[in-house]
């Protein structure tokens, strides 16, 4: 990526990182954090009064459209959405067309990702074509720099295959990431099973369909000693099981999607298909448990599970609509609104996921001189109304459409470059000379109307 605007100083904010919380200014020069006192008066100043200044957010779970689903999202549009949402690094899910199941596709996705304003890490699939039949060349993927492999969807159903994947991947340093959902028990489900599925006349998936596979997968981790990461856990039972497993010495990591910190099954009363999600929106008690699990650190990461769709995939009856919601531009505000302390939330949205992705130790990634300058400035009190049409993502499906959220990203700095300022995309056209950025990113920037004048 190209250099850079001149030196920056982010002044007057509350700095929160793995080292703690303090008042202070943050200086940035040549792509790294510097002592603000060393910069002269020519440094560009960002006023962070009343704001939180933290290390850039890291999303462990986003679907970025490319390759294969460019109608719904591109690297350029997803990258814009990411930085507007405060994310400086995003892990791209591998269920693309073609799926990321060889080193060649990894390289292709990396090349495409140059059009993104954020850093894109590439996940691979566990099995060929993510079909859950035979193992993908995991050694080749690891050699290509892949650290996370996942089949997406509802996770590997076959316990023998999962056992083999956990065993085989151990010397490769790979983490097997997977959602927990027993497809058979959840057959036909459109939403969470409970009071609301009974009332709305929709087939439900019980919480137990998730928890059975959490228990099963933990057993396989105990058996194999492999590394497992649970994607988008959603039930109070799952959080309790993972917490108890950690106490008994079975090490796994786990994430929750931001929408599961705020919306519940009752929010489906109007059959809003943008709220049809996998896993489904759960009961209000599960939402409360998710918030507690993130605040208490039993859950490592809050993710967006950003899943962009074109309108036609959602403008169907509830049972025919595709699941998923965009989330890059709302996740932080949604999570902040849940009442989790900012320091706890930022641990789950920045340095802990960075650590899980192998991007560096939380302390060395903190906002101290010498660290890579991935920085976000957040006004935790600024409200905005979620509206997909006004978002940078091409996806038109926000589960929060029309809702007022609180907590806005004022500025985002990626590797020392300002990409968001005053809560808008910064005009990169005048700042960068890279062909790629000019051709792809800025073209869309202008189209989205969010470029600063």
């Amino acid at each position: 990526m190209s250099e850079t605007n001149g030196p920056l100083v982010i002044r007057g904010g509350t700095v929160i990182d793995a080292h703690g919380t303090r008042k202070g200014d943050v200086g940035i020069a040549n792509g790294v954090i510097v002592d603000a006192g060393e910069l002269d008066a020519s440094a560009t100043e960002i006023d962070a009064t009343g704001c939180i200044v933290s290390t850039g957010l890291v999303d462990m779970h986003a679907h970025l459209g490319e390759p294969g689903d460019e109608a719904a999202e591109t690297m350029a549009s997803a990258g814009q959405a990411a930085v507007l949402g405060g994310f400086t690094t995003v892990l791209a899910m591998p269920n693309t067309l073609p799926p990321v199941d060889t080193a060649a596709v990894v390289e292709h996705v990396r090349a495409l990702s140059k059009a993104a304003l954020c850093t894109v890490e590439v996940a691979g699939t566990v099995t060929v074509g993510a079909e859950g039949d035979r193992l993908a060349p995991l050694g080749e993927l690891a050699a290509a720099g892949v650290r996370f492999v996942t089949d997406c969807g509802t996770g590997i159903q076959d316990p023998l295959l999962l056992r083999r994947a956990l065993e085989y991947s151990k010397p490769l340093g790979l983490t097997i990431a997977q959602a927990a959902n027993c497809e058979r028990l959840a057959a036909g489900a459109q939403m969470h099973e409970g009071e609301w599925s009974s009332k709305l006349g929709l087939a439900g998936a019980p919480a137990e369909a998730e928890e059975i596979n959490v228990l099963r997968d933990l057993s396989l981790v105990r058996l194999t000693g492999g590394r497992l990461h649970f994607q988008t856990l959603s039930t109070a039972g799952s959080f309790a099981i993972v917490g108890a497993a950690a106490h008994s010495g079975v090490a796994v990591s786990a994430e929750v999607a931001s929408h599961h910190l705020q919306l519940c099954d009752a929010d489906l009363a109007g059959y809003d298909t943008t709220r049809k999600l996998t896993p489904p929106l759960r009961a209000a008690s599960d939402v409360a448990a998710a918030v507690r699990a993130v605040a208490g650190g039993q859950i490592d990461a809050v993710v967006t599970d950003h899943t962009p769709h074109t309108t036609d995939r959602k403008e169907r009856t509830f049972d025919h609509a595709e699941p998923g919601s965009v989330g890059l531009e709302t996740a932080l505000a949604v999570a902040l609104s849940s009442g989790i302390e900012p320091a706890d939330l930022l641990r789950a949205m920045s340095w802990r996921p960075a650590e899980l992705l192998g991007l560096g130790d939380p302390l060395t990634r903190g906002l101290q001189p010498g660290a890579v300058a991935d920085v976000v400035v957040i006004d935790p009190t600024e409200p905005f109304v979620a509206a997909a049409a006004a978002m940078a993502t091409r996806g038109t499906n926000s589960a929060f459409e029309g809702l007022e959220l609180t907590g806005r990203v004022r500025a985002t700095v990626v590797h020392g470059r300002i990409v968001v300022r005053d809560a808008m995309l910064f005009d990169t056209a005048t700042r960068f000379d890279t062909e790629t950025l000019f051709d792809t990113a800025t073209h869309s920037l202008t189209a989205s109307g969010k470029v600063m004048a």
Binding site: K199, Y271, D319
Partner: protein, 328 residues
């Protein structure tokens, strides 16, 4: 009120009001020339994604008796299976300038989605497992004909509650009118959270029938066997069917109801439908009057405020319609 999507949306007062005005419409239906000009110039479309000739005809007859123009939007089931955009169909309807759409759909919630894209009134004629409000209204009306007020009456509903929009609508309507409801079904055919419903649950049909004031049988589909919900139809009939023996123990004053079409020999023994206390034909007849009342409520001159005017209109067949009262 613009749409009729679920019983939930009607207050108890609105429900009673609809039932109170229904006899006037029933009277219209009994006339030699069974037609009043209440909805003249308005167009009612039926949009049935699921075959149901009896419900569609009932709405069409109701609309015609109120002088509305009717048209049937034919929907190919093949395109529905591919998940064709509901919005495309809605926009087509919108472009035709239709005043009310009567919608039947196999997917729960489809009528709610339709309201987002059409300006017309939407009447839910059955959505998935969810709601069938006009069925509940005609069931309430039929029970009122049998024993007056439903307050404190005990209604026993038997069968596949889980997949039944009739049960969901009827439970809400019956309890709104003060009745107590017992649902009798094997646990596999009950929704997962009936503990949050204002009903009593039973798995013993004989015990539930002892103090029943009315018995409501639901259609049992044979495909439920394949889903491991019931072992077989013979056992279902033995445990949950209205056998001749069970029917013989009922007082002759206890009405037996069914939303149709009946599976004789499954939920109801072959000869039971011929008993005098079976009111299935009344249900069908009352369906037309109820649907006239609903159409008038939604499309007439502004909802329940206009009801006294309606009575003046329909009580005197010779009287010219007061155009100001029915203008939309």
């Amino acid at each position: 009120m613009k749409h009729l999507l679920s019983i939930d949306e009607l207050s108890a007062d609105e429900l009673r009001e609809l039932l109170r005005m229904t006899p006037s419409f029933a009277e219209v239906a009994s006339r030699r020339i069974a037609k009043v000009p209440a909805l003249r110039g308005l167009t009612v479309a039926t949009l049935f994604y699921e075959d149901s000739t009896r419900t569609r005809l009932s709405f069409e007859v109701a609309a015609k008796r109120l002088s509305a123009d009717t048209l049937n939007v034919a929907v190919k089931s093949s395109s529905v299976n591919k998940g064709e955009s509901l919005r495309d169909t809605a926009e087509t309807i919108e472009a035709m300038g239709i005043d009310a759409v009567v919608m039947r759909h196999a997917s729960s919630g489809a009528p709610w989605q339709l309201t987002k894209w059409v300006g017309a009134s939407v009447i839910n004629a059955g959505d998935g497992w969810h709601q069938h409000p006009t069925q509940a209204l005609l069931d309430c009306f039929t029970l009122q004909q049998q024993f007056g007020d439903l307050d404190s009456r005990h209604i026993v509903m038997v069968g596949d509650i889980k997949h039944s929009r009739v049960a969901r609508s009827d439970v809400e309507a019956f309890t709104k009118l003060g009745a107590t409801v017992t649902l009798v079904a094997p646990p596999t055919l009950l929704p997962p959270a009936t503990n949050t419903w204002p009903v009593t649950i039973s798995h013993d049909l004989d015990a539930a029938l002892i103090d029943a004031d009315a018995v409501y049988l639901l259609r049992m589909q044979r495909e439920r066997q394949r889903e491991a919900l019931v072992p077989d139809m013979r056992e279902y009939t033995a445990l949950y069917g209205l056998t001749a023996q069970r029917a013989s123990r009922l007082s002759t004053s206890v009405p037996i109801m069914h939303p149709g079409p009946m599976n004789r020999g499954v939920e109801i023994a072959a000869d039971v439908p011929d008993l005098d206390q079976v009111v299935v034909v009344d249900q069908v007849r009352n369906g037309v009057a109820i649907r006239m009342a609903v159409l008038f409520m939604l499309l007439g001159s502004g909802g329940s405020a206009a009801l006294p005017v309606l009575e003046a209109v329909v009580d005197d067949p010779d009287q010219q319609v007061d155009e100001s009262a029915v203008a939309v």
